[in-house]
């Protein structure tokens, strides 16, 4: 038998073995809910309507002086930052000695449909900052914002130059909305009647938000299903797929007025990048942000492309500012194997020395 024939034989044997495994594990896949997510021990410090502020239990004997507050995006659940043990960003931070607080968002109730950007940047975030100060006994705070959480944090910082935030790390934060080409096109005011939509729905429905994200790459869902079947024999692959898939489909509704304001101010007017955005009559000038800033952007981000994110570092007034573009996508930048190798150690190296 030639080496080539032996190799083909070996390959076929492997595939038959995998086919058997697929059938056995496929049943388990269908009957099992998948891994538990967001299991790092934490305490609910405060909850008010859509806002929930958590403090995670320290995993180090000695922590940094400055507590760390993370602001999650409004459209998705915060457990993307706390996937399974060993793959949890929060767990990593705790082990590195950070005192971690997270603002996670609940689905807005129907009476919260009136919430606007004002409520997040003049009320919820400042309230959480005060509570972190109280709970930690420290005046200074470091802040991280992911995606829209980064946008809201940036607006908060621009409106509160006197805030106790000492350092700010933003992950994939959009500022120039004209660069989010497909979203901008779909929400073009010539076709998209946001008033009519929100007047009839109250809050922006999660299925609409999910569909908008999904349509950016319409083949991904079908291809992902085929790939998970192909890799059903591989427990790690299946576990990872299920974690990310569950999170991606667990989309939250957005408060109706927030969505209306967001569409008009950012998608139609692109006001933030033009320094023309106002919150409660107060101009939001990003150059008023003077604290040291790190902005991590994903090279293959199809939701917030580089063009939409780069304006943050360009526009802020900080002298100490750094932008890094890391390999990965919008989600794999912060979670999963890619993040463990790239973003997490980079952030720790930047933030550790700024947390004493």
């Amino acid at each position: 038998m030639t080496a080539e024939a032996a190799s083909i034989g070996e390959r076929i044997r492997t595939e038959i073995d995998r086919a058997l495994q697929r059938n056995i594990k496929g049943l388990d896949y269908l009957s099992n809910e998948g891994p538990a997510l967001g299991v790092t021990p934490r305490e609910l410090l405060h909850r008010r309507g859509t806002m929930a502020l958590y403090r995670y239990r320290a995993l180090a004997d000695e922590v940094y002086r400055v507590p760390l507050l993370i602001v999650m995006a409004l459209t998705n659940r915060g457990y993307i930052l706390d996937l399974a043990p060993g793959q949890s960003f929060v767990e990593y931070l705790l082990k590195q000695g950070y005192d971690v607080f997270v603002i996670d968002w609940n689905a807005p109730r129907s009476d919260e449909k009136k919430l606007r950007i004002e409520d997040y940047t003049l009320d919820f975030i400042p309230d959480a900052v005060r509570r972190v100060q109280e709970a930690s006994g420290e005046e200074d705070i470091n802040l991280i914002g992911y995606c829209m959480g980064g946008l809201l944090s940036s607006i908060y910082l621009a409106l509160h130059p006197e805030s106790p935030v000492r350092h700010f790390a933003a992950f994939t934060t959009p500022i120039d909305f004209s660069e989010m080409k497909l979203f901008a096109h779909w929400s073009d005011k010539r076709h998209f009647d946001v008033d009519r939509l929100i007047d009839s729905t109250g809050n922006a429905p999660p299925d609409m938000i999910f569909a908008a994200f999904d349509m950016l790459r319409p083949a991904d869902r079908a291809a992902g299903t085929i790939q998970v079947w192909d890799n059903m024999w591989n427990d790690e692959y299946v576990k990872s797929y299920r974690m990310f898939d569950r999170w991606a489909t667990d989309v939250l509704p957005l408060p109706g007025e927030y969505f209306r304001q967001f569409t008009k101010a950012f998608m139609w007017g692109n006001l933030l990048v033009k320094d023309a955005f106002e919150v409660d009559g107060r101009p939001v000038k990003l150059n008023r942000i003077k604290v040291p800033v790190l902005h991590a952007i994903a090279e293959h981000d199809h939701i917030v492309p580089y063009g939409a994110a780069r304006a943050l570092v360009q526009k802020i007034g900080s002298k100490d500012k750094e932008e890094i573009v890391l390999k990965g996508g919008h989600v794999s930048l912060v979670a999963g194997g890619n993040a463990i190798k790239r973003l997490w150690p980079k952030l720790d190296a930047w933030l550790g020395k700024r947390s004493t």
């Binding site: 080496a3 080539e4 032996a6 190799s7 390959r11 305490e43 609910l44 410090l45 405060h46 909850r47 008010r48 309507g49 320290a58 180090a60 004997d61 000695e62 922590v63 940094y64 002086r65 109730r109 129907s110 009476d111 006994g137 497909l182 779909w186 010539r190 076709h191 998209f192 009647d193 009519r196 939509l197 009839s200 729905t201 790459r217 319409p218 083949a219 991904d220 291809a223 192909d230 090279e299 570092v313 360009q314 500012k321 750094e322 932008e323 890094i324 573009v325 890391l326 390999k327 190798k341 790239r342 973003l343 150690p345 980079k346 720790d348 190296a349 930047w350 550790g352 947390s355 004493t356």
Partner: protein
């Protein structure tokens, strides 16, 4: 064992799947960039929302007719419960803090806030992130 020079059919179809995924995404994105698509999608979305609103109004009328709680009634109860729960969380947190303060005699509890970053490993820790993606990762200077 010598490397086989013949193409692997299983890898071939996996590559094909990956290429098809890219191709379909690109093709669909082209179509979705047109005004016709944006117009159609907006119309569909608004029509769906309007249809939902009408259905909800009809269901509400039926529920009222049969003396059943409507969705908004259930939501109102849920909101009251939620706000009570919020208050309970607030009270529990305050009590816990008071108990901690009493137990420790006013001395701060929890780990000491004295951690210092390890000087050398901190700089090295970032290295794999850069070198691991040296080809495509760029560190752009702030402008």
């Amino acid at each position: 064992m010598a490397e086989s020079s013949s193409p692997d059919p299983f890898d071939f179809w996996r590559d094909l799947l990956s290429q098809m995924e890219k191709g379909v995404n690109q093709f669909a994105n082209q179509g979705m960039k047109t005004d016709e698509f944006a117009k159609g999608a907006s119309k569909l979305m608004t029509a769906n929302a309007a249809r939902k609103k009408i259905t909800q109004a009809m269901v509400k009328r039926y529920c009222e007719e049969f003396n059943l709680p409507t969705r908004s009634d259930v939501e109102a109860v849920n909101e009251r419960l939620q706000s009570l729960e919020d208050r309970l969380v607030e009270i529990a947190t305050t009590l816990r803090r008071l108990a901690d303060a009493q137990a420790s005699g006013g001395v701060a509890t929890g780990p000491a806030r004295t951690r210092k970053p390890p000087p050398e490993p901190a700089a090295e820790a970032a290295a794999p992130a850069r070198t691991g993606a040296a080809k495509r990762n760029t560190k752009r200077p702030a402008s």
